[in-house]
Symmetry: C2
Amino acid sequence: MPKVGMEPLRRRALIDATISAIGDRGSLDVTMSEIASRAGVSSALAHHYFGAKDELLQATMRHLLAELNADTRQALAAASTPRQRVSAVIAVNFSDKQFQPETIAAWLAFYVEAQKSTALRRLLRIYARRLHSNLMSGLSDLLPLTEADSAAEGIAALIDGLYIRRALKQGEPDAHSAITLVTDYLEMKLALRPAAPTPRSR
Amino acid sequence: MPKVGMEPLRRRALIDATISAIGDRGSLDVTMSEIASRAGVSSALAHHYFGAKDELLQATMRHLLAELNADTRQALAAASTPRQRVSAVIAVNFSDKQFQPETIAAWLAFYVEAQKSTALRRLLRIYARRLHSNLMSGLSDLLPLTEADSAAEGIAALIDGLYIRRALKQGEPDAHSAITLVTDYLEMKLALRPAAPTPRSR
DNA sequence: TATTTTTTATTGACTGATCAATCAATAAAG
DNA sequence: CTTTATTGATTGATCAGTCAATAAAAAATA
């Protein structure tokens, strides 16, 4: 039973502190000292574990991405029909855990930073691809490929748009109306073509 | 015939330089010197005319907002049916003038900065309100109020979402497919209820 | 018109603050 | 006695904002 060292604990604490700092400030303009002090350590220690600020930021985003991914997988596992799969993916993005001012602010800030940083841009592209493919995992059984693809595109745009719009408002996020709006879009897409997808696969 | 002073010329040049600098860097992390040198003047002069960096940033955003507004009014004036009004509003947001990497990056950056700055947040709220009301100017003649409202909400979210997603891609913006996606949404909304709006007004 | 005076335009040099990053020193495990 | 954990102090760079000085235009005065 090896006692773990401090490293993983500190890394995690620093990442959490980064999210909360970004959430408060609303931007990536947070100092290493601010982050470190939230994590209860010195800024020198933050540098010790992450080397440079960039890397801490990247690690934080990777963490966000990983959590979203884990939540999504879990939700997908619980869905039994294609239609449920689509709803599950949508629901995860507006779940209490994800659709929080802090997290939303962090995502938004990363979007902007991605313009400068190739590493962050790469990560965001991964997110976009994953979201698309997760949506397709249900949609491709409900619509012909081309239409499934455009539906996925629309849903993804709606999600991102609702995130950014949310960032402007104050008070608690209204996940319910967001889900309604996206689901409404989905249902219209499905209603227009109640027919089966391309030639029966399987 | 009074010769104009330098002030309006310089202000305009500095605002243009700000947009282009933000577009290049992809964020509001641009120095006054960078902006000033793009405008061909010293940073001291930029401070002379704008006082502080904040004010230059606000002025720049006000400029962007004003241009979008002017374009929208013009487009609305040329539309003769409610349906055309809605399309016009959508089209403006993806016009060559608006849907440009530089401008898109600037909007995105302002969204983030708005988390910190009350003044910028106020301006973005104005933008959101205007967009909604411009959309409603056509929609309210095509759908019952509640549905018109939710359609406007959806269209606005789609536009913002497509902007943010666009920022991730490289190369020329694909305005055409963006317009198609939004129009498709609009048409579905209209198709579902081809009936007239609430009691005939007028 | 020629001249002085005032206002406008413009800058280089400077200041003070902020911060990321480094490092040498110390303590505590293993 | 070697590796891991941790920090205070420091360095060097970057910037926003200021200021005093200069030049050029405009206005006022002679």
